[in-house]
Amino acid sequence: MFSTRLLSQEEVRELISMKDVIEAVEKTFRGMGEETVVNPTKVGLDLGETASFPPYEGFMNAMPAYVGWLDSAGIKWAGGFLGERKKKGLPYITSLILLIDPKIGNFRAVMDGAHITNLRTGAQTAVALKYLYPKKNLRLGLFGAGMQGHTQTMAISELFHIDEVRVFDIFPEASRKYAEDMKDTVQGKIVIANDPEEAADADVVVCVTQSKDKYVKNAWIKPGGILFPMGSYQECEDEFILKADRIIVDHVGQCLHRGALKELSEAGKITEKNIHATIGEVVAGKKKGRESQSERILCIPIGTGAMDIAVATVALKRADEKGMGGNYEFA
């Protein structure tokens, strides 16, 4: 009865640019602040990422959302797998997005979600920076030179003039590849840091690693500095989390139970009260982002389904206009 559009990763890539994604992410943050977005806390399916059974070294997260400014609903089902997936040389992230028309419930699209995840994760940081970092020029410290490191850089370079990137990765080869790939994206120079401390000497520090080592030291983040720990585990010292002037997150419920704040939150040392604002509240103008030049800010955009649904809906609209992708009647 209804036709569902099918879009491959290649088609999604052709349909949307980082610029489009940043615009959609900013509008969706504003919608979150204005409460026109519905985004329940994601539900995980542990397939051996941390659990002892089953043995697959992976997980899948279900991230449903409704986005008011696009009047669109859907779900991203996305996960990461090591194990056999890694052996086969496949990317860590696997993902599909389903979109529905919230008026009558028909499925409008099934599309790859991995590319959208990578782009929107970068865009979230860039949009947050737009409201938290007062200048046009910045020096970026980057931990993790993989796919996420690339998209973080691409997104930030859309909104800022990057004078310098200091990149650190435990695999020097990855840093060298990053420097080669990003030389036309970064306006200034790219420096491969010899040790983590050298990389952290920057205005803005972005961490996109799988590390559990709390490797970013409190002392490394200078007055006025902003740290984005985006990994699944805690990448910075407890002391920085406890001493930062502001903690700003994208989704309070999610951020207290995953990533950088999980451990301190579960120990009762960080509660909802310690979170100054959500990025949505800041973008919507309901709360201030930065109030003084010297504040040190901890910002954690861990990722919400709303961003994926927004970006996927923009891609679908373009595909509808261009007649791109497949069509299928499931029911």
């Binding site: 879009l7 990763q9 329940p40 539900v43 529905i100 099934v110 790859d112 991995a114």
Partner: protein, 331 residues
């Protein structure tokens, strides 16, 4: 890497009710034995007609991993209250399957027929362990809609049913049901005028209605009767629920917050320890089902993602064998 797309019509041709019942029984056993992972479903509220969004609809995200099939998947499904009035189906749903070893998306398929089939099969499997008359039972059925049809089909395929007694608030629906289903399942179907009449001499009561008026009263249910209230709202009187000898559910977390038990649970009159056990524990032999012919048993298989994933995996395997469905490469 292709993902197999399967339509509703194809699913109907690929799987038979006895196969669905077998898959559901094995999955219940897996739940009892701890080889199934089934987080509590996550709801995306699109409005209830009074507050929030204007759609009178909601979507559930139901991810699960089924050990005996080594398959992970998710069902994204919801109901639109205003759809039937527009000539559109009430339910809209899709399923995605993932190979948990390498994270590849195996299949995307319609989720509505899978739901109807497994919902019938869940009751049939539970009754195998709980009914007081396994030879030639009489079954009272409340609700002659789409769900009533798959309930009758599943029960008739598991038991040599002596008679179905059908009641619906629209007698016309019951008449059509009897005409259509009688020949299909080869069981006499008697249309009755009142709910009380249906239950006289019945061994099991299966209720699939949208009732909120607690029309199944305590005095209607005699010794030895098994009652399965499957509606989303309030079909059973409080005294009935509170006086049953055993309450058996499919998923403790879900059944205390939805459907028949919601009200008595949220008002504190029914606690988790008042539940006798799960269908999975009974099927796995960890707990006894019916222990004597007089017990009055309340059984609530509200529906779990694991059953959907199991039935969808079965459809996918048969589709691969037979070359049914179309492939699409999302990446």
């Amino acid at each position: 890497m292709g993902t197999l797309l399967i339509t509703q019509k194809e699913i109907g041709e690929l799987v038979s009710m006895p196969e669905v019942i077998d898959a559901v029984e094995r999955t219940f056993r897996g739940m009892g034995e701890g080889t199934v992972i089934n987080p509590t479903k996550l709801h995306l509220d699109l409005g209830d007609g009074e507050s929030g969004l204007p759609y009178r609809a909601g979507m559930n995200s139901m991810p699960a991993y089924v050990g005996w099939l080594e398959t992970a998947g998710i069902k994204f499904i919801g109901g639109w209250e205003d759809n039937p009035g527009k000539g559109l189906p009430y339910i809209s749903g899709m399923m995605l399957l993932v190979d948990p070893r390498d994270g590849r998306f195996l299949s995307a398929m319609d989720g509505t027929l899978v739901t109807a089939l497994r919902t019938g099969a869940q009751t049939a499997v539970a009754l195998k362990y709980l009914i007081s008359e396994p030879e030639d039972p009489v079954i009272a059925l409340y609700g002659a809609g789409a769900q009533g049809r798959t309930q009758a089909e599943a029960i008739a395929s598991s038991f040599n049913v002596k008679e179905f007694r059908v009641f619906d608030i629209r007698q016309e629906a019951s008449n059509v049901f009897a005409e259509e289903m009688g020949p299909k399942i080869g069981v006499p179907i008697r249309v009755v005028d009142r709910p009380e009449e249906a239950v006289e001499g019945a061994h099991a009561v299966v209720s699939v209605t949208h009732a909120r008026d607690k029309f199944i009263r305590n005095e209607m249910i005699g010794e030895g009767v098994t009652v399965c209230p499957l509606g989303s709202f309030r079909e059973c009187a409080d005294e009935l629920i509170l006086s049953m000898d055993k309450i058996i559910v499919d998923h403790v977390g879900q059944t205390l917050h939805r459907g028949a038990l919601k009200e008595v649970s949220e008002s504190g009159r029914l606690k988790e320890e008042d539940l006798y056990g799960t269908i999975g524990e009974v099927v796995a032999g960890k707990k006894k089902g019916r222990e004597n012919p007089r017990e009055r048993i309340l059984c609530i298989p509200i529906g779990t993602g694991a059953m959907d994933v199991a039935v969808a995996a079965l459809a996918y395997r048969k589709a691969m064998e037979k070359g049914v469905g179309s492939e699409f490469s999302f990446i």
